[in-house]
Amino acid sequence: MASESAYSFSLTTFSPTGKLVQIEHALAAVQKGSAALGIQATNGVVIATEKKVKSPLVDDSTVERLVSITDGIGMAYAGMGPDFRLLTRKAQKKAQEYYLTYKEEIPVLQLTRAVAKIMQEFTQQGGVRPAGVSLLIIGHDHDGPQLFQVDPSGAYFGWRASAIGKGYQQAKTFLEKRYADDMELEDAVHTALLTLREGFEGR
């Protein structure tokens, strides 16, 4: 579709087929990133991600792929690390602002919506670009354990299990087969590791 690329210069212009081409490109950046996946169990929720470093000389204790937003909410990503860092900081601040106002821990869904709002604003404001990450957000609150995914467009979804990044299609198929509603946390962790191993390349 040659006409698509004619619209790829501008974040805020629709292409004739109704796409925002920059967001499509952002999703491509996500799909090249290291895999991450999440599974919701009856008594908890788990996210897992590959931490592969480019060289044995890298001090991998300084590479952060899983981050706590609060004591009850965690976040993982696939895509561009620096964009994840920015979103992590903003999410942590939103969580504390919520606490300052209500003296209550922010519910997982509300934090997800706040992050999704920020990511959507990156698709419709001047001088910025979409975030080159998809996020997996997990947490535990009054509504139990929850797992959410947020995409560069700002769309967010609640999942029982999901995968993002390299090999996410196969990972999702694998999860579809293995997921059960009555899974407990131990099983979920085990399944998460199995799923990552399926897509693991080499070393």
Binding site: L100, T101, Y102, K103, E104, P107, Q110
Partner: protein, 204 residues
Amino acid sequence: MDSLIGVSGKGFVIVAADMSAARSIMAYQYSDHKILQLDDSKVLGGAGPQADRVRFLEYIEKNVKLNALRTGLTASCHGTAHYVRRELADALRKAPYQVNCLLGGVDADGSGHLYWMDYLATMQETKYSAHGYAGYFILSTLDRYYKEDMTLEQGKELIQTCINEVATRFLINQPKWKVSIVTAEGVTEEVTQPTVDLTDKIPE
């Protein structure tokens, strides 16, 4: 000159306020509503200059509603109380609201809570409390007659006792009172009057 009285018990909260709007020697009206219903499970009473009070109570009322629409959730009494306090605190060193508040609510788990807030953004959860001159007269009444396991009816009687005490001893006439009652079923409002006959106090 506003009087606010609040009593919380197992599964209910009652907030009562006088309905007089007065200045100097003139009583303008006896239909001033000083308690606003925030939602099905919370009420907020305010005492202070009418302009500040109306502005602040309506501002909170609308923001609580907005938050409920945005999130699809009913906020907890605790969260709402802290939100109100934060609004008072933020405004304090800019454009303070001279409003003393009583926030009463019943949570989803059926427990009743009463929060006392003053215009300096002090806040304390209490079993019973009051604002205005009324407090000077009836905090001791409440100390004496309040019981933790009171029923709603007993709570209403206690409020009436307090209203009567204020009518007997406070020199300012407050002939009509609004009583907001919050239970797990929702919010109801009543208008009452003191039931004490002051001619009893005139010696033969």
